[in-house]
Symmetry: C2
Subunit: 460 residues, 2 copies
């Protein structure tokens, strides 16, 4: 099995496994106790905190361990907002943040706060000027990821931090995807991360709050982890997490060059091997191991199953794989195609042969899925059918509406308009994306009986 | 080293260690993913949930895993209170709950809720009638531990659950100390527990919410763990926790008899071996492995250090060992002596020889600490000193005020009164307790310059 979903969870690093085993013997006791076992546990915890702080580039007393990256984000956002309640109740996030940030923002809005989402370019990156425009006198906090989890695009964190600093607003950086590759540059104020993204065990996140930042932890607290992460410390996992962080950092310079070359191969060759594909995300400013593309006329869930059958574990931001039946908010915010979406995220140590084998099987797998769905063959010139001005795709799920559109399109005269009726949320994203890929004009949408009508004008 | 602090954290059970190692290989991936690794992780998580539910005596879909017992309590209390917000904003807890419950109650009070603390008997047990008296028409939730963590007293959970059921109020049981010994009896509505108390790893708690209970999880949520415990699931630790629960349950019947006999030895022999000792907690209705006693004229921290030096890891609820410098709220609520407090909590498998060795060294250790502090020798009849009516112990920390009282007491004529001046919070608890142990009359307290005056009348 080739595991290409490191952005979800990396397998446990061998160094982490070793450290975990050792710490299970020495670090299980309560570090608040006075006896030998307690003191041993305390020493392990203190040493792990020092090492983690060094890797992050902060003081040890600014860093606490949390039960997950998600909890670090929740605690960090809530604490920073509460700490600056008197300044105001306005929060800035980017449109492509991790769901833990967006869920925090939803709760804040439900409690009467206001939230501004900063839009992104088609590459997935925000502009520092977007944050500058969003800042208000009552802004309590701004949040930005260091790099995007779905498309790998690196964000201009240092520039955004400078914009925020000039306005006196703290910036929380969600460094979940990048901390294993290096410290986050720039004058950020808070930072959250997750150990199982860098080969540490599950159950460990970290939250850094710079000394100068006003912070008021919310909810019941206790005396552990500076009152910021209640509950018995998970010291064996913390020790393993930090050991893993140091190990991946030691390999980062070399491994990032190697993985970047492997993902570059995928970026360059997939569009040549598979017709009707859009590779998304910034081609330059990106994480080394992530590459994401979307295949027209393909159902994400079937594609994932077929790739799994061929021995590849990948992820998808397609609507078809999500329990909520809406397409990935990241792809949506970028305005790129979401159907048939595949995220390849290579763990350190990925073998070149596995990537080559992936490139070898992908075209056949995509063709097979398209075949099953009755998608139009690429670059064929189908005989013109009688003019079809309305495509009724009501009740049909992604990617069927776009497939129906493509099948009907050859029958539309140049200059003519086709009206696609759909009640699938993904169509709102995928029909405009299809137009952009095909050089046709997306006219707009309007309400229709039982759904929405999407209007497309044929340009050539 | 004899580790006698299982009520804080039990060492990892060998079965848990084995299960953890296996699950690190098979359970590290995201259980929400469609590929093989994800499905394996999901199967492990589902199987662990089934097994945990069977051990608790609930349905699998009523049980979620949390990052700790503390978080299970926080989530359970907040969610149950919010779910019944329309009924009212009144919470009932016992006075001897774990700090995670009391911290939840504090937050609730700060948000405008009202809290009733049900008092306990001198044994540490509540009365069902105490809960009945506390119930109001606006009571949203009642909380009761299954057994006390400091003195081992078992609580009448089934009776209290019945009282609550009759009033239509859900009861949350904190089963942290007892779940390893068996399921909690009675018609409780919610249950919280912590794996590292039964030999599981840190990082795993569990929260059960019965289907019929109105529950609204608070704070940002995601789709994991039924929306009740956000963040990536810690499957290896969950698997290990449940394996350990099954293992300790299999040994529970036999081991509880053995540990009960060992703690009974300590209960019976410590008062004979060490003068001026009070054994606290219910002698019958109690956990098998916990026994707690307090030694007059002894400083808890020094005692712990000396016992550690002799190779014994025990815990203490004395003021002198706490960072907050107030005595244990449990001992305070029971109205028993807190100074020189020692909690012995034996892990399963404790060797008889270790207990015998503890009983052999304890008298010398206590005598040594008393000697160093200049405590009055027990049962000596010191020559009457000139009448001292005021003992000035201002600025002196526990146990010095009681030692000064005891030293001055022989000089007080029968029927006479001594006035102890103290600014140490522990004196409020320990001077009345001393009076009770010595058969003298505690008259009361009154404000005094720089502290409080405690009045004691000599009866014989």
């Amino acid at each position: 099995m080739a595991y290409f979903d490191a952005a979800s969870a990396a397998p446990l690093h061998p160094v982490a496994r070793q450290a975990l085993l050792a710490a299970l013997d020495d670090g299980w006791a309560d570090p608040a106790r006075l006896y030998r076992e307690g003191r041993k546990a305390r020493m392990l915890l203190d040493a792990a905190r020092e090492a983690a702080a060094e890797a992050v580039g902060c003081r040890a007393d600014e860093l606490v361990f949390t039960p997950s990256g998600t909890r670090a984000v929740h605690t960090g956002v809530a604490g920073a907002l509460a700490g600056r309640r008197r300044v105001g109740r306005h929060l800035i996030v980017s449109a492509v943040e991790h769901s833990s940030v967006l869920h925090s923002a939803e709760v804040f809005e439900a409690e009467g706060g206001s939230v501004t989402q900063v839009p992104v370019h088609r590459t997935g990156a925000v502009s520092p000027s977007g944050y500058a425009a969003a800042l208000r006198t009552d802004t309590a906090l701004a949040v930005l990821q260091s790099a995007n989890h779905e498309v790998g695009t690196a964000q201009p964190v240092a520039e955004v931090a400078e914009v925020c600093r000039a306005a006196g607003v703290p910036l929380l950086v969600d460094a979940a995807q990048s901390l294993g590759w290096g410290p986050v540059e720039g004058g950020w104020s808070l930072l959250a991360a997750s150990a199982h993204k860098w080969g540490g065990p599950s159950g460990v996140g970290l939250l850094v709050v710079r000394k100068r930042v006003r912070f008021a932890a919310q909810g019941p607290a206790d005396e552990r982890e500076s009152g910021r992460a209640p509950g018995f410390e998970n010291i064996p996992a913390v020790v393993a997490a930090v050991a893993s962080l140091r190990a991946v950092r030691a390999e980062a310079a070399q491994e990032s060059v190697r993985l970047r070359e492997l993902t570059e191969r995928i970026r360059a060759r997939v569009p040549r091997l598979v017709p009707e594909v859009e590779v998304v995300g910034d081609p330059e400013h990106r994480l080394p191991g992530i590459v994401t593309f979307s295949c027209l006329y393909v159902d994400g869930e079937t594609l994932l199953h077929e790739l799994d059958r061929e021995g590849f574990a990948v992820s998808s931001g397609s609507s078809c794989t999500s329990s909520t039946l809406t397409p990935s908010h990241v792809l949506k915010a970028m305005g790129v195609l979401s159907e048939g979406n595949v995220r390849v995220s290579l763990p350190p140590g990925t073998a070149e042969e596995d990537v080559e084998r992936f490139l070898a099987v992908l075209p056949g797998v995509v063709a097979g899925v398209r075949d099953k769905l009755g998608a139009p063959a690429a670059e064929t010139s189908a005989a013109p059918e009688p003019a079809v001005l309305v495509v009724d795709a009501l009740g049909k799920r992604c990617p069927i509406p776009v497939i129906e559109l493509a099948k009907a399109f050859p029958g539309v005269p140049v200059g003519g308009t086709v009206r696609v009726l759909s009640d699938d949320e993904a169509a709102r994203l995928d029909i405009p994306a299809w137009c952009e890929m095909r050089g046709q004009e997306y006219v707009g949408e309007e309400p229709a009986d039982g759904g929405t009508a999407y209007l497309v004008r044929r340009l050539d």
